[in-house]
């Protein structure tokens, strides 16, 4: 029994692995269901499932700010907007706009081919090698983790007295807790100001590391334009009387 449990736990890669598989399967099932259903309301429901699981995957990758943004903007904003659009446009006959079986088959076949190509491409590349060849742009979370792990392991191994060992273990616990708490917000925020704290102590390109001040400003202007544009496009207008334009 213990052996089986052990095998299972190792097979799925511990706690993170278990959560990863749960949310990966949920997001994939949701995405496939969005494609498979013809009913627009159910598509919206499955889209929520899929995007929510993607947010959970972001949390698993320690991108907590991005995960929260995904929940707030995507699931709470964009999908609500989409459902709102569905409500305004779907009246009886438009809830189900069927695709012909031939088109579905063709689309599905091409999609499967594309998926095979992508999976083949992903699995043939040796990502570990490639990421070693990349000149370290800065202190990414992975690098910081590796460095901290190394120094902690060293301090644990040299510790001989019980007190020293206890101190090292306490440091380990503190690092673990900090990792759990996440540490991307401040870095992301500073990078939108044009500063790159994660590049500061990489000697290569500390000065030339690009911040995101200009894209950030452009996006804010862009949002204003979108606000005005969407309000202009969606304003109340004369409605075409039935029968004059289309045969529906």
């Amino acid at each position: 029994m213990t052996y089986l449990l052990e095998q299972a736990a190792n097979g799925i890669g511990g706690t993170d692995g278990l959560l990863f598989w749960v949310f990966a399967i949920l997001s994939c099932v949701g995405a496939v269901a969005v494609v498979a259903t013809q009913n627009i309301v159910r598509m919206a429901f499955w889209l929520v499932v899929s995007l929510g699981s993607v947010a959970a995957l972001f949390f698993l990758m320690h991108a907590d700010f991005l995960g929260a943004a995904q929940l707030l903007i995507y699931v709470g904003g964009t999908v609500v907007l989409l459902v709102f659009g569905v409500m305004l446009t779907a009246s009886g006959h438009t809830i189900k706009v069927q695709t012909s079986p031939a088109e579905t088959l063709l689309g599905g076949g091409v999609g499967l081919l594309l998926l095979c190509v992508l999976i083949f491409a992903i699995s043939t590349v040796n990502w570990a090698d490639i990421s070693q060849q990349i000149p370290a742009a800065g202190d990414s979370p992975a690098i910081v983790d590796a460095r901290e792990d190394a120094s902690l392991a060293e301090s644990l191994s040299v510790a001989t007295t019980p007190e020293a060992k206890a101190t090292a273990e306490k440091a380990l616990a503190a690092v673990e807790a900090r990792r759990q708490a996440g540490r991307t917000i401040r870095q992301l925020g500073l990078s939108f100001y044009g500063l790159r704290p994660d590049h500061m102590n990489s000697s290569a390109n500390a000065a030339s590391a690009p911040g995101y001040l200009l894209p950030f400003e452009i996006i804010s202007v862009h949002l204003l334009v979108v606000l005005i544009g969407a309000a202009y496009l969606a304003r109340a207008k004369r409605r075409v009387t039935p029968g004059s334009g289309t045969d529906l």
Binding site: E6, F65, L71, L81, F84, Q187
Partner: protein, 432 residues
């Protein structure tokens, strides 16, 4: 930062307990699952228990306001058990799905709303260190999770196949999408003062007397509290903003077609959300779990050092004094939030419902500009003061190390403070 009730601490404790009995991968998984289950159960009891009390309270308050008695029969003189009796009746009812409804979405929508409302509790700290998930962006995350509840309600109304429900859902969608904006802006004002999105840090910075609460930090924060509370009342669709279920116009709005257990989940989610938004208000403006009284060192000191050994583990100490302080803090937090919920109930039975166009006008023409003005004011306040004290440093440089450590609750002992300063530094500390 890890009180005895935080998932991390319990997980580590369980790992220590089991260390002699299993191998590490299994161990981590078992410890994590057990710790997560225990905390989910604790939060579930809060999530289920508080609404039961609030529903009773609502009926009682409504009765008194309308010069009636409210429930009096079930469970003694005050009708204490009325909600339980109602709940048992609801569970027994038939689970109906209308013929025109989209049955999958119709069945799933209540759970979507319930899960979203429950998930918000996960990042809501009840006391110093008593939190399900310690998130650096807790305040942002809780607002995001609260905003998901609307999706369940919209899908419920839309999939019911009834025009009343559809109208309710459309109103809800329009109302929520607009009210999220002033809510987030108002919540930003105390976060700006704190310089952190971590609700634990925000709570800890308000330790000490009532004057340390963020509502009294500056005039803009004071006004922002009332603005936030108005918007929060609207965002949990309470009267006078309960257009989604306006029973005088729409039968029952989005839940017209629901019955039995699924209907009661909507109710549970609504009352739990009332507690959650009130809890956010308490954490951001009203001092969180702090009593607002300065506790003399002589009393606080006597609570320190009551450490006992944990069973099954050698070397780990359990700080009983801090635990008692946290227990008191947790009760203070729940009581403060419940007072705000009572205020929401009072408002509901006092003010008449607005029309839908008035609701939208209130938000877009008044609350959004007001909250933007308050936010700008709060940004410029430190500059107007032109103070050089540390408390008014621009947020971009991070909270000064001392400001966090110096305001540690006298109740919660020294180790908490030293750890909290590392959270407050967050990212920068890692990259050095």
């Amino acid at each position: 930062m890890n009180g005895p009730l935080a998932v991390l601490t319990l997980e580590n404790y369980l790992i220590d307990c089991l260390k002699s009995r299993a191998d590490s991968a299994t161990l981590g998984l078992i410890a994590f699952l057990t710790a997560a289950l225990i905390h989910a159960a604790l939060y579930l009891s809060l999530f289920g228990g508080l609404p039961v009390f609030y529903i009773w309270l609502e009926r009682k308050v409504a009765g008194r306001i309308q010069d009636r008695l409210g429930p009096t029969r079930v469970g003694g003189k005050f009708g204490w058990l009325q909600t339980i009796a109602d709940g048992i009746k609801l569970i027994q009812k038939e689970d109906l799905v209308p013929k025109d409804a989209d049955s999958l979405v119709f069945r799933m929508a209540p759970y979507l709303a319930g899960i979203a409302s429950f998930a918000a509790f996960m990042v809501l700290p009840v006391s110093d260190g008593w939190i399900g998930v310690v998130a650096e962006c807790g305040a942002f995350l809780i607002l995001a999770l609260m905003s998901l509840e609307v999706l369940g309600i919209i899908l419920a109304g839309y999939s019911s196949g009834s025009k009343w429900a559809l109208f309710g859902a459309m109103r809800e969608a329009a109302q929520m999408v607009s009210y999220e904006i002033p809510m987030a802006i108002c919540a930003l004002i105390p976060l700006l003062i704190a310089g952190s999105l971590n609700l634990q840090v925000v709570g800890k910075m308000q330790t000490g007397g009532v004057w340390n609460w963020f509502i009294f930090h500056d005039p803009f924060a004071f006004l922002a509290f009332f603005c936030y509370f108005t918007v929060a009342t609207a965002s949990v669709k309470r009267a006078p903003f309960d257009l989604a279920e306006a029973e005088s116009e729409l039968v029952a709005g989005f839940h017209t077609e629901y019955s039995g257990f699924r209907w009661s989940i909507f109710f549970l989610a609504e009352y739990a959300s009332m507690f959650a938004v009130s809890g956010i208000a308490v954490l951001l403006f009203l001092g969180g779990w702090e009593t607002g009284m300065v506790i003399p060192e002589s009393i606080a000191g006597s609570l320190r050092g009551w450490e006992i050994n944990l069973p099954f583990v050698t070397g780990q100490r359990f700080d009983l004094g801090a635990y008692i302080a946290n227990l008191v803090g947790g009760h203070v937090f729940v009581i403060k939030a419940s007072l705000l919920v009572t205020l929401q109930i009072w408002v509901r039975w006092t003010l008449p419902r607005l029309r839908i166009d008035q609701v939208m006008t209130t938000c877009l023409k008044y609350l959004v500009p007001i909250s933007c003005f308050l936010f700008l004011g709060a940004v410029f306040w430190p500059l107007i003061l032109a103070s050089t004290t540390e408390a008014h440093r621009p947020v971009i440089y991070g909270p000064p190390a001392k400001s966090v450590t110096s305001v540690i609750s006298p109740l919660s002992g020294p180790p908490v403070g030293t750890e909290s300063s590392t959270i407050a530094h967050g990212g920068l500390e890692v990259v050095r």
